[in-house]
């Protein structure tokens, strides 16, 4: 399989991951599309240097999240996010509305977090364990656990305020 075919397959399989990262760090549809393109470009650029010893998802998250940071216009504590474009996903019909509503509440709540916490919670929501989160973010696994505990508290308070 040539490089182009392998890369296309990889992006096709992980398109959702890139959309989620792009939507979490932008505040307009246009910015989201721009960031999506930039992430795919950075993945393409570093595809040759990807080391098979590390998990492909670890490499993808690292490139995607780092690209998102360098694309920020300013480094405010809060990065206003836009709700994810739910049409890009395939939600079971009967669950569409409630799932969309829950996702919107979640995105609104994530606005209170700083950049590091936002990255950690993204990986947590993606089902990554402490070790993987530590590997991607560069903080120790025990610190990941402590931070997730604090973030949960912050989000709980925020969600209580919102609802």
């Amino acid at each position: 399989m040539d490089k182009k075919t392998r890369f296309t397959k990889l992006i096709t399989q992980n398109e959702g991951l890139i959309i989620k990262v792009a939507s979490l760090y932008t505040n307009s549809q246009q910015d989201q599309e721009d960031l999506f393109q930039e992430i795919v470009f950075q993945l393409w650029k570093s595809f040759d240097s990807f080391n098979d010893q590390s998990k492909i998802s670890t490499w993808m998250y690292r490139v995607a999240m780092n690209t998102a940071i360098y694309n920020l216009k300013s480094i405010k504590k809060k990065v206003n996010t836009i709700p994810i474009e739910t049409s890009a996903y395939h939600l079971p019909d009967e669950k569409d509305k409630s799932a969309e509503q829950r996702i919107r509440v979640l995105y609104d709540s994530l606005q209170i977090l700083n950049l590091l916490d936002k990255g950690i919670i993204l990986l947590y929501l993606e089902g990554k364990n402490h070790q993987e989160i530590a590997e991607i973010t560069g903080i120790s696994p025990s610190n990941v656990g402590t931070r997730i505990g604090r973030i949960k508290e912050k989000l709980k308070q925020q969600i209580t305020k919102t609802l």
Binding site: S46, M65, K76, A99, L163
Partner: protein, 198 residues
Amino acid sequence: MELEEMKNAWSEMNNSSGTPSRLTTQLLDQMTQNNYRSKINRIGQFEYMGSIICYLAAAYLLANFAKIETMIMQVFAFIAIALLLVLPIVSIRSLCAVKNINISSNTYLDTIKDFGIRKIRFQRLQKLNVSLGFLLMLIILPVFASIRGKDISQIPYFWSLIFPLAIAFFLAFAGWTLRSYNRMLQQTENMLRSIEAE
């Protein structure tokens, strides 16, 4: 809603339909044919254009330096030429640093710190640029007038109205810009502190 419920909602979103979206298909075609231009590489287009304008202005001043008669105007011209040559170099050097980043090997935490430090450096530099740009605007007008053989003091209301109004306008503009940069600087420093502290 508890975080665990959120996690469930998040995972309910199926990550992939198995076929790429229209955007992805187009993008992959562009990229693999080397037709895509990175946004990061596009940074600085305006700065490059601005640099050309600065160098043209510096060349104009140099070419007409002999026409400037008074000593004070010659000193102003010399300062203006120096600023026109130095300011673009400073701006472009700071932008080039942003392009030489290693996105795939740095950890997320290192990236945030690096971005914050670069941002602080850039914002401080911009503050300096605004201040020096203000000085440049003040001194370049009489120099241009001198090159064209006009005595600036003979322009009606120049000292009584035009000059004070220009000063007031530029001071207000520079003050507003510097305040804005100070605010951004503060936000960046706070963010870095919040990460270091925990």
